[in-house]
Amino acid sequence: MATTDEVTPDAAGSATDEKLLTPEMIEEIRAYFPRYPTRQAVTLPALHVVNAHLRYVPRAAVVEIAELLELVPADVQDTLSFYGFFKQDAPHGQTRAWVCRSISCALRGGEEVLEKLCERTGIVPGGTTADGKLTIEFGECLGACEQAPCMLAGDTLHGDLDDEKVEAFVRSHQGEAST
């Protein structure tokens, strides 16, 4: 994981003083303050707020979050990098899909679903389609094993996946964007 003192050209607002956190995001983050006795406990909620808006958490945003939470950037970066959930170099696609590869799904063709999705979209797991519409990743057990093989795309669970459903999913994410 890169350190914060490395100069990384972020996609948004590089080399300017432009802030990444909008007043709206700051408002959302502040709303969490009364829930916890420490500011540090707002780290994950804040990361989720920023991620929901930007689809990633660039390092410059880490610095701004730290300021808001009265922490040093390293504290926030330390937590962020533990999870492997928040992208930092480029936003994920409009829809982020996790295909389950854990045991109950694997037993019913989960790995083949992931393969097929990648083949149809021309990306590797972790990649994003060129039009920025779809990111495909593997996930571990999504807690929906009765619908194996399954995938969580945005907030929507797609269960009992077969070739037809995978095909329909890919097509619906090639035309108009749907999140």
């Binding site: 540090q40 590869r101 571990e140 807690g143 094993c145 009765e146």
Partner: protein, 451 residues
């Protein structure tokens, strides 16, 4: 024996089961009103203690006893953490409870907080449950409106706030002290115990961590009493003074190669075979069962001739498995290679190890490298002994790690290799006829991992 009436899933066939109106129409919040009017917090702890309720999160620790460890007369705050991180592969019963009957959990949480004098409860919910998130938030909002949450609940000297806290896709956040660290905004590194959370937990204050299903059981114990609860399930073994019994209803998950995968409720003590045949509708495609996971992959593996294993707190241990775990069964049919099975479960553990303890971090990733190599036809027979050595030496039980994730990684390894050694050997000999006997070091394969 009288036909078992569902308890935890009694209402979910009702389309509106997630709403306050439907929940109250079915008797919901009746227990809360009665308890607040009639019982002191200490009496509720006693009630739960006398029900012999044991935690449903995996360890089976007696719930009332855990509550009794909180310091007496503590000035507060005391915290409650609801463990809704449910990430053990093959497990999804907490999800069903939260999506379909969130008020049952909220009522249990309020009752548990009253008993433990907790003034704030955080529901630590795994990220992958957006639907449960929405349902719980709606339920919490309804409760504030109705005066079941907030200041002076139902005009009593008891106040409580419940907040939802969303995880970020890490299995280790389900371990109770990993959960606490994560909630505090840090990396989810489990803590060395003692101190136990009851003494020094969240924000260094006394804390109780309970599983979703455990708290749902509390709701019904408060409603119907300890004797009713103990009329369900498996009584303590009189010949084993350490057996605390396995009482109450349980949600069983069944998935993998069965005809009707799903979440079903029955008394504790159902056998794996009954679950597969009756609830699960039998093995799919007319095939035979080869092996089954008894309670999430961490608990190990049963072979086809061990399916009479009862799913109660002491059952799986009699078959060399780790325990009841989450009572989530995955069925592996005769067409599956046991090498593939172990590769999959080991990959999960290597991916989810938090990296804090060297035996767990290195042990799981070495085991995965070996299994990658075996799977690719470059295995040595000697690798099986190395895998067993890893399995026997990582975990809390051998005393080399901080948390139980490593035990959960070890058990599938030990069970799969000891119970299916012939198949592993046959696979290695067949796929690597020239190199299987070598004891010389061989290179690991480079496998590209993507998060």
């Amino acid at each position: 024996m009288a036909e078992f009436e569902p308890v935890l899933l009694a209402n979910i066939s009702n389309e509106d089961s997630h709403t306050l109106a439907a929940y109250e129409a079915a008797g919901g919040y009746r227990a809360l009103k009665r308890i607040l009017a009639d019982k002191s917090p200490a009496e509720v702890v006693e009630l739960v203690q006398s029900s012999n309720l044991r935690g449903r999160g995996g360890a089976g620790f007696p719930t009332g006893l855990k509550w009794s460890f909180l310091p007496k007369d503590h000035p507060g705050p005391i915290y409650m953490c609801v463990n809704a991180d449910e990430s053990e592969p093959a497990t999804f019963n907490n999800r069903i409870l939260m999506e379909e009957d969130p008020h049952q959990l909220i009522e249990g949480t309020i009752l548990a907080c009253y008993a433990t004098r907790a003034s704030t409860a955080y529901i630590y919910l795994r990220y992958e449950y957006p639907h449960a998130l929405a349902r719980l938030q709606q339920a919490i909002d309804e409760c504030y409106d109705k005066g079941y949450l907030g200041k002076n609940i139902l005009a009593h000297d008891f106040s409580l706030d419940i907040y939802l806290h969303r995880g970020a896709a890490a299995y280790i956040c389900g371990e109770e002290t990993g959960l606490i660290e994560s909630l505090e905004g840090k990396r989810a590194w489990p803590r060395i115990k003692p101190p136990f959370p009851a003494v020094k937990g969240l924000f260094q204050k006394p804390t109780v961590v309970n599983n979703v299903e455990t708290l749902c059981c509390v709701t019904h114990i408060c409603d119907r009493g300890a004797d009713w609860f103990k009329s369900i399930g498996v009584p303590a073994d009189p010949d084993n003074p350490r057996d605390a019994g396995s009482y109450g209803p349980k949600l069983y998950c069944i998935s993998g190669h069965v005809n009707r995968p799903g979440c079903y409720e029955a008394p504790l003590g159902l056998t794996v075979r009954e679950l597969i045949e009756n609830q699960g509708g039998g093995v799919w495609k007319g095939r035979q069962c080869k092996a089954a996971v008894p309670g999430g992959i961490s608990m190990g593996l049963l072979s086809a001739d061990e399916l009479d294993c009862p799913l109660d707190f002491s059952g799986p241990g009699k078959y060399d498995c780790l325990g009841l775990g989450t009572a989530a069964v995955t069925v592996v049919d005769e067409t599956v290679s046991i090498v593939d099975f172990l590769h999959n479960t080991t990959r999960f553990m290597a991916h989810e190890s938090c990296g804090q303890c060297t035996p767990c971090r290195e042990g799981t990733s070495w085991a995965l490298s070996m299994l990658n190599r075996i799977k690719a036809g470059k295995g040595r027979l000697q690798d099986l002994d190395l895998l067993l050595e890893i399995g026997d030496s990582i975990g809390i039980m051998p005393g080399t790690t901080i948390c139980g994730l490593a035990d959960g990684a070890a058990w599938p390894m030990k069970n799969a290799i000891r119970k299916f050694r012939g198949e592993f050997e046959e696979y290695i000999r067949r796929t690597n006829p020239d190199g299987c006997e070598t004891t010389e070091p061989v290179e690991a394969l480079q496998i590209i991992g993507v998060h």
